[in-house]
Amino acid sequence: MNAILKRETRAYFDSLIGYIFLTAFFAASGILFGLSSLQFGSTDMSGMYGGLFFILLVLIPILTMRTLSEEKRQKTDQLLLTAPVSLSGLVMGKFFAAMIIYSIGVCMTLVYAVVVSFFGSVSWLTVLGNVVGLELLGASFIAVGMLVSSLTENQVIAAIGGFAAMLALYLIGSISALIPVRFIADILGGLSFSARYNPFTYGVFDFSNVLFFVSAAGIFLFLTVRVLERRRWS
């Protein structure tokens, strides 16, 4: 797993995708920070953290699109799948590599908090909660993106498919409001990523939400492993 983690992390910077992702992430978070906190002279950063949800919908697919699709296209999956490494080790290596790049982006938001702290008092616990929430949301989105990437050989399809899947997970909450059957609406509402993420931005640290994102990431990573496993049998 370590070898894959190292190679993938390097590859993000060798192929420019890492730079593109981070540039876009810094730009987007900077704009959001400017529009919410700086413009109103407030130390409340929930506006930026809330807005980043939508930014992730677009940026995470860029991070995950080539993870597994490109291996298949270049036939390098033959090297990985015939090496003495378990499938879960392979998937986790790639997942953590994406998490490292993503986390570099998330850490940038801490810089904004430090900047604000010169002008007023910052509620550091809230900021920390937000960072944890953003990390968890990103982890589950990356897992979704990897699953989509494992299903195709084409990076572009992987990116668009990943975006569509994440959009669906975002919209699931709004759709649930339209469903007249209470029972189904409750289930869909419970699965809404935005409804689970928003409490973090209000400074509410609910452990059930943490558990939700951890399990979501776990499930999608598990499905990715299953997709790779199934490919051997088909």
Partner: protein, 332 residues
């Protein structure tokens, strides 16, 4: 050691591999021979754990590739049909990655250096793989399979894309490796298999049609019914005379080797030995046999014969019948 028992792989209702069993012993180079699409690569992909078999078992040094894949994969170095290279890495980075991926314990720099010297890529060690020629890419692929010094090497068409000099180098290398590794290599080039392998498994349409040493294969299938004879005598009359020998299918004058001495390719019906009769008849006309040898079947012939199955024999005996009829009429 590699042991394969009744391996089957089906895609839908198509049998890519239909019940293959064979064994490759330690220190043996086993050649997989077959036309394109015969199931060579599929078999290799199953042996290395890239694909799963539909049924059957494969053991690598006693480890079942399905039950105990990690242990089995540790024993294998695999060069697939398309070398699995990361184009954005340098050769050095790539080999270091493979070294870590395989959890290799040997001293890294000296081990990688040895491999590079062995496959002669030390002069491109720092270059990006994307910029290498096909021959070098192939050799980097081979280097990758050697990392960690695995006991078993599985090489899928290892000399594809190389120039003749490189082909000879790689073959020599494989022969050298074969002394202390178990090697399976596939090819559809017959001379290659003949040159390198101790034993040959011929595969066609997912089935093994022959499994023997190269010499045995050619001995078993060769026979005294195909002769090359140098005969001192007038060409056209010699041909006429030889054709009257019972069992002769065809006589073709090949070329004049010496003054008045022609070389003839004589083919008789399989299982008949016409040499004595040939001698007797030529002597009676005072013509002389200046040289006589049986034309051994080349692997090409063997291959055609094995893959065409009975149809070759049928084809030949039909031809014999036609000729008999023809001469029967002529005599009347």
């Amino acid at each position: 050691m590699i042991e394969v028992k009744n391996l089957v792989k089906t895609y839908g209702d198509k049998h890519a591999v239909a019940g293959i069993s064979f064994k490759a012993n330690d220190g043996e180079i086993l050649g997989f021979l077959g036309p394109n699409g015969a199931g060579k690569s599929t078999t290799m992909n199953i042996l290395t754990g890239y694909l799963s078999s539909t049924s059957g078992e494969a053991y690598i040094n006693g480890h079942d590739i399905l039950e105990d894949p990690i242990a089995a994969k540790k024993e294998i170095g695999y060069l697939p049909e398309f070398p699995p290279l990361y184009m954005d890495m340098t050769v050095k980075e790539y080999l270091c990655f493979v070294y870590e991926l395989r959890g290799c314990k040997l001293p890294r720099n000296t081990h990688l250096k040895e491999i590079c010297d062995l496959v002669k890529i030390d002069n491109v060690y720092e270059r990006r793989i994307a910029n290498l020629s096909k021959g070098y890419k192939q050799r980097v692929g081979l280097a990758q399979a050697l990392v960690g010094n695995p006991n078993v090497l599985i090489l899928d068409e290892p000399t594809v894309g190389l120039d003749p000099k490189q082909i000879i180098e790689i073959r020599t290398l494989i022969k050298k490796l074969g002394k202390n590794h178990t090697v399976i290599l596939s090819s559809h080039i017959l001379s290659e298999v003949q040159a390198v392998c101790d034993r040959i498994v011929v595969i066609n349409q997912g089935k093994i049609v022959a499994d023997d040493t190269a010499d045995n294969l050619s001995r078993e299938l060769t026979a005294d019914h195909k002769l090359i004879a140098r005969i001192d005598g007038p060409k056209d009359e010699v041909i006429k005379l030889v054709q009257t020998i019972p069992g002769v299918v065809s006589v073709v004058a090949d070329m004049q080797r010496e003054r008045g001495v022609w070389e003839y390719n004589i083919e008789a019906v399989e299982g008949t030995d016409i040499r004595r009769e040939l001698n007797r008849r030529l002597m009676s006309r005072n013509w002389y046999i200046m040289g006589l040898r049986s034309s051994e079947l080349s692997l090409e012939d063997i291959f055609l014969k094995l893959t065409m199955g009975e149809s070759v024999t049928e084809f030949l005996s039909d031809k014999a019948d036609d000729l008999e009829e023809h001469y029967g009429e002529a005599e009347q």
